[in-house]
């Protein structure tokens, strides 16, 4: 797996270069498909950044689950735990959040909301506990187990919205809307931007602090960078550190699920996540596993998705084309970032 290698995405010309290269290739693709690339670009930019409302209500709101799951992935990966199951942990958190939000109607908001978020995080951690124990106790690689747990979580979600948590009419596979007191308040009145973004930023700062300053964070990084050296030179018991990485990661992903339920959808549905937990891997790796950079890369992916949706709506680009352009954009960003890194490394590349 890639090693953390800090870099700065924002560095001036990378951004400019990415836009140029992407523009060229995507434009070509759109022209071949019979669409107007300029209209598409206008729509995408407008949809992502065109107005304060587009940015706050759409781009930023879309990036919140990516921020939190991105942090979850970075948290685990930094400790050498390849948790690719943030998706399932997010769903576990969403299920717990929906449950709290439904049964806790009688509780006051100041109690209900924190409870909802805490339980969502707890559920996410619990979902990560299975692969964690399989890894620590049985030595079973987590890449496959976390993935499998995600598939199970998808079916579990489908089950609970038809079974225990189904709306009272018993017809629709979804829950009732959660209590008003269980919802995250708007951060900027009049927009859809909810308090979850503050939570994400606080979490990022906390994780960054953990990694940079604390004993635990140091141990996690050491185990992640070299378990052998951590044991031999650091006298670190890798088992507990690995467990913490799993549970913390699961908790962050679970929190993401809770925040989505409490801040955006207010109810749980089948097919709840479009794959936030998987996109999160790209978000975290593009940020070189740096928690603060995760905020930025999540925003980038949020903007990409917002732009793709706006392209459909406002420029008549079919969803499939919008997705293809999105893929191209990611590749372009990657390629340019890579070239910039090589240039920075001078002649160090062999």
């Amino acid at each position: 797996m890639p090693r953390p290698d800090r870099f700065r995405l924002g560095a001036g010309w990378v951004g400019a270069g990415a836009v140029a290269a992407t523009g060229a290739v995507s434009a070509l693709l759109l022209i071949v498909g019979g669409y107007d690339p300029f209209e598409a670009a206008g729509a995408a930019l407008g949809g992502a950044f065109g107005s304060a409302d587009a940015f706050l209500s759409v781009t930023l709101v879309r990036s919140i689950p990516l921020m939190l799951t991105g942090l979850a992935v970075a948290f685990a990966f930094r400790a050498g735990v390849w948790n690719i199951g943030a998706e399932g942990q997010l769903l576990a958190g969403a299920i717990a959040a929906a449950w709290v939000g439904l049964v806790g109607r009688a509780l006051p908001a100041w109690l209900l909301l924190p409870m909802l978020l805490a339980l969502a995080a707890f559920a996410g951690a619990l979902w990560a506990l299975v692969p964690a124990l399989m890894k620590v106790r049985l030595g079973v690689g987590e890449v496959i187990t976390t993935l499998l747990m995600s598939f199970v979580a998808i079916e579990l979600t489908a089950f609970v919205v038809r079974g225990p948590l189904q709306e009272p009419r018993g017809v629709f596979p979804q829950t009732e809307a959660i209590a008003a007191g269980a919802r995250l308040p708007a951060l900027v009145p009049g927009t859809r931007l909810h308090l979850g973004v503050v939570l994400a930023v606080v979490a990022a700062v906390a994780v960054a602090w953990l990694f940079r300053q604390t004993k635990l964070g140091f141990r996690m990084r050491a185990v992640g960078a070299s378990p052998e050296a951590a044991r031999m030179a650091g006298k670190i018991d890798t088992g507990p550190v690995t467990l913490v990485a799993f549970l913390g990661s699961g908790a962050l992903a679970g929190l993401a699920g809770g925040v989505q339920v409490a801040g955006v959808t207010y109810a749980l549905y089948e097919g709840y996540s479009p794959g936030w937990g998987y996109t999160a891997i790209a978000v975290a790796l593009l940020a070189a596993l740096d928690p603060l950079w995760v905020l930025a890369t999540a925003l980038l992916f949020g903007a990409l998705e917002a732009g793709a949706a706006a392209m459909q709506r406002d420029a008549g680009i079919p969803a499939v084309w919008a997705v293809a352009v999105q893929a191209l954009l990611i590749l372009a960003v990657l390629a340019l970032d890579q070239m910039r890194r090589r240039a920075n490394a001078g002649s160090a590349g062999v």
């Binding site: 797996m1 890639p2 090693r3 290698d5 498909g33 019979g34 299975v130 399989m134 049985l138 030595g139 079973v140 690689g141 890449v143 496959i144 187990t145 993935l147 499998l148 747990m149 598939f151 199970v152 079916e155 579990l156 489908a158 089950f159 038809r162 079974g163 998987y278 996109t279 891997i281 790209a282 790796l285 593009l286 079919p318 969803a319 499939v320 084309w321 919008a322 997705v323 293809a324 352009v325 999105q326 893929a327 191209l328 990611i330 590749l331 990657l334 390629a335 970032d337 890579q338 070239m339 890194r341 490394a345 160090a348 590349g349 062999v350």
Partner: protein, 308 residues
């Protein structure tokens, strides 16, 4: 359960396992070279569309398989150009390639058959009964009355095993996946090996997609790969990167999937989501019970030359 049902269950296991086996065997080669191609899903769906278009154009299932292989190979080439050639992060690149594969196949499909889709009926790849073998009671039909692509999977398992462990090329491939620096120091062309391994993986994923469209479904639909690329990656790990085991793991997964339809058809009154979760739960149990402790190639997902 009647014997007929058991037989059908076994047949369904092989049918569902075969595309996984093809894709997973290819991915095993890719991963043995230290490259994890998360873009496999994109290669499979491209293979399915390529297979469909090829079969229509040449009115032949066989031509469809070749076209599907080509389409999967092209997707893998894009992935390799970035992840192997440029050394970009393999996971992000794979994510983008899957996204692009799903999007572009949809776009091509809609461009060719109209935005609202059409009822494609494809020339299929007919099952071939292997004489004698297919007459074995119970398992004969299941294993030996299948599409030719299924036999390709059977043949690949021992062939790839031989390649990995009994040829110098295989030794180089494994060394590249374990310790690319050491391989390079010994004179192995690391990137070339990785490129070829990735292309082979994509090609087989394309065959898997063509198999889905031509030997299984007889049609093409958007997203019909339905996550099989990711399952195949899990199957590789379940099969410990060893081709015969990978084949068995794919068939195991196929059986676990077939079980859900069997159980649903039996009319057990349980939530069907439980049945849908069976393959994953069974695999988890298998891993916990007796298949754990597999070690991935040490340099898996590590770009070479390293970014420092």
């Amino acid at each position: 359960m009647s014997e007929a049902e058991l037989e059908l269950f076994l047949q369904a296991s092989v049918r569902l396992g075969a595309p996984l086996a093809l894709a997973a065997l290819g991915e095993a080669v890719t991963e043995r070279a230290g490259v994890i191609n998360i873009g496999l899903e994109g290669a499979i769906i491209a293979g399915a569309l390529g297979g469909a278009l090829g079969a229509l154009a040449f009115e032949s299932g066989g031509a469809g398989v070749l076209a599907g292989a080509l389409a999967g190979g092209i997707v893998a080439l894009v992935f390799a150009a970035f992840a192997v050639g440029l050394g970009t992060d393999q996971i992000i690149t794979g994510t983008a390639v899957t996204l692009g594969g799903l999007g572009l196949t949809g776009a091509v499909y809609q461009a060719r058959f109209g935005a609202t889709g059409t009822a494609l009926t494809l020339p299929t790849l007919a099952p071939v009964r292997l004489p004698l073998l297919a007459d074995i009671p119970l398992i004969g039909d299941a294993l030996f009355a299948q599409a030719p692509t299924t036999y390709l999977a059977y043949a690949l398992a021992p062939a790839l095993w031989y390649f990995f462990f009994r040829t110098e090329w295989g030794l180089e491939l494994r060394a590249v996946g374990e310790q690319p620096d050491a391989a390079a120091a010994a004179g192995v062309r690391v990137r070339r090996v990785r490129l070829l391994a990735t292309l082979l993986g994509g090609t087989l994923a394309g065959v898997a997609g063509a198999h889905l469209a031509l030997a299984h479904a007889g049609t093409f639909a958007e997203n019909m790969s339905a996550g099989r690329g990711f399952i195949a990656i899990a199957v590789v790990a379940l099969g410990r990167w060893n081709p015969p085991w990978v084949l068995l793991a794919a068939l195991f997964f196929g059986a676990a999937s077939a079980l859900q339809y069997l159980l649903q058809a039996l009319g057990l009154d349980l939530p069907y989501q439980l049945f849908l979760a069976i393959p994953y739960l069974l695999t988890l149990a298998a891993l916990a019970g007796w298949l754990g402790r597999a070690r991935a190639p040490a340099a898996l997902a590590t770009p070479w030359p390293p970014p420092r």
